[in-house]
Amino acid sequence: MAVGKEIREKIRSVKSTQKITSAMEMVAASKMRRAQERMDASRPYSDKITAVVSHLANAHPEYHHSYMSEREVKRVGFIIISSDRGLCGGLNVNLFREAVKAIKEHSDQGTEVDYTAIGSKALGFLGRMGGNLVSESCQLGDQPEISSLIGSIKVMLNAFDEENIDQLYVVYNQFVNTMTQKPTVRQVLPLQQDDSEEYSHHWDYIYEPDAKPVMDTLLQRYVESIVYQGVVENIACEQSARMVAMKSATDNAGDLIDELELVYNKARQTAITAELADIVGGAAAV
């Protein structure tokens, strides 16, 4: 029957889209579980190193590291962590909006900004926005290794050491739960002191080999662990956001198919009725 050929075509195309979105939903759901496990696995290290650094901040070191003292802000660095792929709802867009807000605050005060992009989407975004991109790491995959981040971070740390930048921020999505991801801008350098520790008597570490190299290494590891934690958390966010986005797309496609089928059936019935009327009319005339 020739009726509703376009409608049938349309139904077929929507169905194939629905198949893709539902497959992506399932893939994202299983990846999300693994990403969450990885996020939990990397937490002990970042907790421990944070504890060590806060001990250090509360000790009375013989050597005062530049990462720990504020200085006048002329230029700041932003490390923006995004996903490598799209189709994850508003995840990256919300993150970039938050980043732009923070960057604007700085540029309004005449502060210049350097960027590091982690993830293809951040790279694309910074490319469109323009700006001084100093380093990037993309295509990290689902199991990011800290070694693939070291280079990008080192560029920023070197800039800080040479006083080319005076503050360093990371921007990433914080994983709250499956439904909620919170775009977060966090200041990394100079380190934010917290005075929550209880002991205030005068003490210091024994350093080996010496205070400066030890603190250099420790604080470099600390910054890396913050960025790494941001990356694994962002991956967990990406997968859960994708799962939710794909679920709603699949549902929408289902609704659309129902509706198109209704229209199709109506058209078919109208055609049959018209045909019957023709036949009846023809028979009466005979």
Partner: protein, 142 residues
């Protein structure tokens, strides 16, 4: 009962060991150090080598690490192990590479165009579905 100290060995990607020990030996940069409970606070860099933990009961646990940091507090010892092989010049090389990638990316924006194109099409399809959905809702209420 003999004195013990709590030990945590963690790497960036996972927690390796957590438990109590009577004595810990770690490969500090200036030579191996032995840490007994109530050791004075110490912060040391470690080179590649073995961390040995003497557990109560005479058992010994060994872990190979490729370097990292050792923090000693009187009642807790933390080993922050590196997962990657680290050296200052290696780090610099990685930094240079990341910089060059950024420059290349700014010049050549055609990276992975095919993938991006396919994805763009799919995004469009999904957006269409959403738009239709919205239209449908609006016409349904009016």
């Amino acid at each position: 009962m003999s004195m013990t100290v709590h030990v945590d060995i963690v790497s960036a990607e996972k927690s390796i060991f957590s438990g109590v020990a009577e004595m810990i030996f770690a490969p500090a940069e200036m030579g191996e150090v032995g840490i007994a409970p109530r050791h004075a606070p110490m912060l040391a860099r470690m080179k590649a080598g073995e961390v040995r933990i003497q557990q109560p009961g005479g058992e010994e646990a060994d872990f190979f690490i490729s370097g990292g940091m050792l923090e000693v507090q009187p009642h807790v010892v933390t080993v922050l192990a590196d997962t990657a092989i680290r050296a200052a010049d290696l780090d610099e090389a990685a930094a240079l590479e990341a910089k060059q990638r950024a420059e290349a990316a700014m010049e050549d924006k055609q990276v992975e165009m095919d993938y991006a194109k396919a994805q763009a099409e799919l995004i469009q399809a999904v957006a269409q579905l959403q738009a239709i959905e919205r239209l449908r809702k609006r016409s349904g209420t009016s």
